[in-house]
Each structure stands twice: as C-alpha cells, then as structure tokens.
Symmetry: C2
Subunit: 210 residues, 2 copies
C-alpha cells in the first residue's frame, strides 16, 4: 500500500473499472476475476491487478474480487464516497449543456453554482444558482467549493483559473482550448474537443498516405 506517485493513466482506469463494476452489479454478478473484468473493459488483467495494488489488497486468491466491495473500495480511494459541489464558470452554449448534463449528478457531483458576466435570460436547472461573475470569489469561499469547471472564452480562461485558485478551488476542469497553467496545489485537467477531432483526422490522413 504505497501512496506515492500514482500515474494518471492508473487513476483514469480506476474510473473505468468503477463503471464496469456498476454494470456487473446491475447484472447481479457478485464476484469477478481480473481476467473477466479485463475482458469487459479492454484492459490486461495484470494491469488491473497492478493498478489496484497501489492502494491495497482487495482480492481473494483463488476467487477474485467481490464486486460490491471492490466498488466501494475504489470509490473510497478516489474520494467518491461523498457528494462534491462544483462551480461552473461561463454559461454559454457549452456551459448550459454541462449544467443540464445528467452524467455528473449520477457520479456524485452537484453543479450547485454557476457564474457569468451576463445573468439575464439564462435558463438554469433546479438546484443550481446563477451569480454574476464579480461574486465568484465570495460565493466560492462561503460555500467552500473545491471543484470548478471553466467553459468561458479561451481569452479569459487563464484569468478565471487564477481567480478560482485564489478563492480556494483545488481542482479545475477546463474546456477552453488553452492549456491553463497554475502553481502547484491546484490540479488542472484540460479537455480540448478541437484537439480530439484533430487527432482523428491525423490518423485518417495517415492511413491514406501510407
């Protein structure tokens, strides 16, 4: 049970295992081996065991993993055994869609506050409150929010990120097409849909050229 330097890919796979385990649970399967789990989610079984070994011994030799238990263990390890409040900054097209997206709620995230420089005429779902961007620091500090999503124009993303960090946010998911850089202590993940499409065209073009 060593806790140092967990590779990011491992963490991503934990999330994947979690999804598979949920499926297995729904199907009424109670025990699963790394081989079967691996087949399901397209990961080498040894890889699964190594990933899990970073955090402890969750299996039973000769048997496998108890689905329900492993699920809870992974949730605990990833900090998903509680509900996380998330702030969303930038209620444009994408921001609005993200507010309505049900996938977050299902995974224990609650988009409870949103910010924009324009607060008129926006449709905000139940349970979420819209504030003017100038109130960002105050509201985030008051509610002790640690997670934020940035969906503003790329020219403002870096500045918004810095303000969020100063307000006490510790994790940022950035949808603007700039690589945000912040001092250590804040984790940033950049989701760039343009890049994703470009990677696809690259491989499509390659195939033709070769």
């Amino acid at each position: 049970m060593r806790r140092f330097k967990i590779p990011e890919v491992t963490v991503g796979r934990l999330s994947l295992y979690l999804r598979c385990l949920n499926e297995l649970e729904e199907e009424g399967i109670e025990v699963v081996s790394s081989l079967d789990l691996g087949r399901r989610c397209g990961v080498n079984p040894a890889q699964i065991r190594k990933d899990l070994a970073y955090f402890g011994e969750f299996g039973t030799r000769g048997v496998g993993y108890y689905v329900k238990e492993l699920k809870e263990d992974i949730k605990r390890v990833m900090g998903l055994n509680k509900i996380w409040e998330v702030a969303l900054v930038g209620v444009g097209n994408l921001g609005t869609a993200l507010l309505r997206y049900r996938g977050f709620q299902q995974h224990g995230f609650k988009l409870s506050v949103a910010f924009d420089i324009q607060t008129e005429g926006k449709e905000i779902p139940e349970g979420c409150q819209l504030y003017h961007a100038s109130e960002m620091e105050r509201v985030i500090k008051e509610r002790g929010i640690k997670l934020a999503i940035i969906s503003v124009h790329y020219s403002q993303a870096q500045e918004v990120a810095e303000r969020l960090a100063r307000a006490g946010v510790k994790g940022i998911l950035n949808f603007a097409p700039v690589r945000i850089r912040l001092p250590r202590g804040v984790v940033v993940r950049n989701v760039d849909m343009g890049t994703e499409l470009e990677i696809l065209t690259f491989y499509l073009t390659m195939k033709g050229t070769r």
Copy 2:
C-alpha cells in the same frame, strides 16, 4: 521521415503546437525556437524537436522555425488543410451545445448533418441539417462523411458506433460514458467528462490523506 507508429501523445502535442503557432502569428512573431515555443506551451524543447522529427525537418539550424511555414506543415501532416464534414448523432443537451459550439468551425470542421430519433422541436443552426436516425446510413454514405460525434445515451452508443462504421465513417469522437470498441479500420476517441472530474477528486483526496 519515418511514418510508422506515431505515439498518440505526439499527435496531441502537434495540435497544441498549432494553437501556439496561431497565437504567435497573431502577435506578428515570424520565427520561433523550440525553446521559446516550449516555454509557451509547457513542453520540453527536445520533445518538440523529436515530435516534429517524425515528419521531416522543418527548422533551420541556428535560426529556429518559421512560424507560418511550420503552421502549414503541421496542418498538412494532420490533414487539416481541408474542411472536414462531421456528422453528429444524438441531439440532446450535449449534442445541441456541440452543434452551436463555434470552436469546431474555427478549426476547419463543419457539423453539416445531425441525427436523432426525435426530429421535432429542435433548434438547429444554419448550415446543418437534422435527419431522423433511421436515415443515418443513407445520408452518411451519400455525402461520404468520414467523421462522426456520438452524443447519445450510453446504452445506445455501441450500436450507433457500429452503424456509423458500416456506413463508412472512419473516425468517431464518443462523448457517451462507455468505452466503444470497434474493429480496426475505425479510430475511436472517448471523451468522458465524468472520468475527468473523478481524476480531479482523486488528486484532491490524495493530497488530504497523505
């Protein structure tokens, strides 16, 4: 100029360099060294040179890279010197937002057709046509579309992907939270926003625990 087995991370970085080069061009900077470019986008300069070396020699020793030239070279390598038509399947919350998202157009992608099982009462932007899902194969074949975005419910994502592949699509960007698996010949990229948030909570939780 070897063309075999380009790592995916390299391709992603090419896209990043492209963005930086656009910025540099806007600022009127004509020549850039790998050192400066590296500082801008947070990549080691040797890394940049290695990445580019997969595709040829684009720089001039003692000088650096000519911004405009390198930009065009990267665009050519990635197949971005043309406009790509993209089909979108699933016009729900997320799908609608993606249709309206301007970032794609700016990078040479045109969301020209969309499909859903429900075609009534959807607001579709100019230049994009909405069809019933049953017409998917026909329309995609007729227009020779090679790229598609999936934003349907996760329970249908795999099936939609298979239909797209049969209709001739070669690259799929999947926003549904399932890892889509297809036979070789079709490139799939999964964008999973739930996983992204979970990776953040993992690192936030870790920091506290350690």
